[in-house]
Symmetry: C2
Subunit: 106 residues, 2 copies
């Protein structure tokens, strides 16, 4: 099951633009005060660092990711999730259609 919509959020109107637009996201706050973002990654290979631990949920397209310290690229698609430890980093590679995601903080 893919999360197509998220109800009852307070949406931040300014986008977050990373890597000259290869990744764009919009942040929002849920009713319980927790913060998430919805975003899209265009075809590219990017490296993100994490502060808090993150969970990436695919809602369109697919990607491959490689966690810090690993040399294995793993695939993650629509309806699938992957976790990234806090204070770490991960590489993400999108080759075909853009990868759309929800990023939440574990």
């Amino acid at each position: 099951m893919t999360t197509a919509t998220i109800p009852n959020v307070t949406l931040t109107t300014q986008a977050n633009v990373y890597f000259d637009g290869k990744c764009v996201s919009h942040g929002y706050t849920l009713a319980d005060g927790s913060k998430q973002s919805v975003g899209v990654i265009l075809p590219a290979t990017l490296t993100f660092t994490t502060g808090a631990a993150e969970v990436m949920e695919g809602v369109g397209g697919s990607c491959e990711y490689k966690l810090a310290g690993s040399d294995q690229w793993l695939k993650s698609g629509t309806g699938e999730k992957f976790s990234v430890p806090g204070n770490s980093s991960f590489d993400i590679r999108v080759t075909d259609a853009p990868y759309h995601y929800i990023c939440s903080y574990a």
Copy 2:
């Protein structure tokens, strides 16, 4: 006054990607059922067509726009709005920092 956040919306998780990512937006539905989107335009000159009439509200950066049938570029910045008739088109030019906007349907 710039609209920094919008409360109580149902957010569509998949982004809208236009012109290979030069424009990215996320759509949402307000409590009253009306639909809007928040988006960002990276440095580029783009042409959009409209179905319903639109109102563009700047929430970051600035742009210049030219309505169909006009040869005049007009500036619109943060906290400012411009209207585009329905079943028409407009050119939009972003040269410096990305232009962040809220698009609502009049």
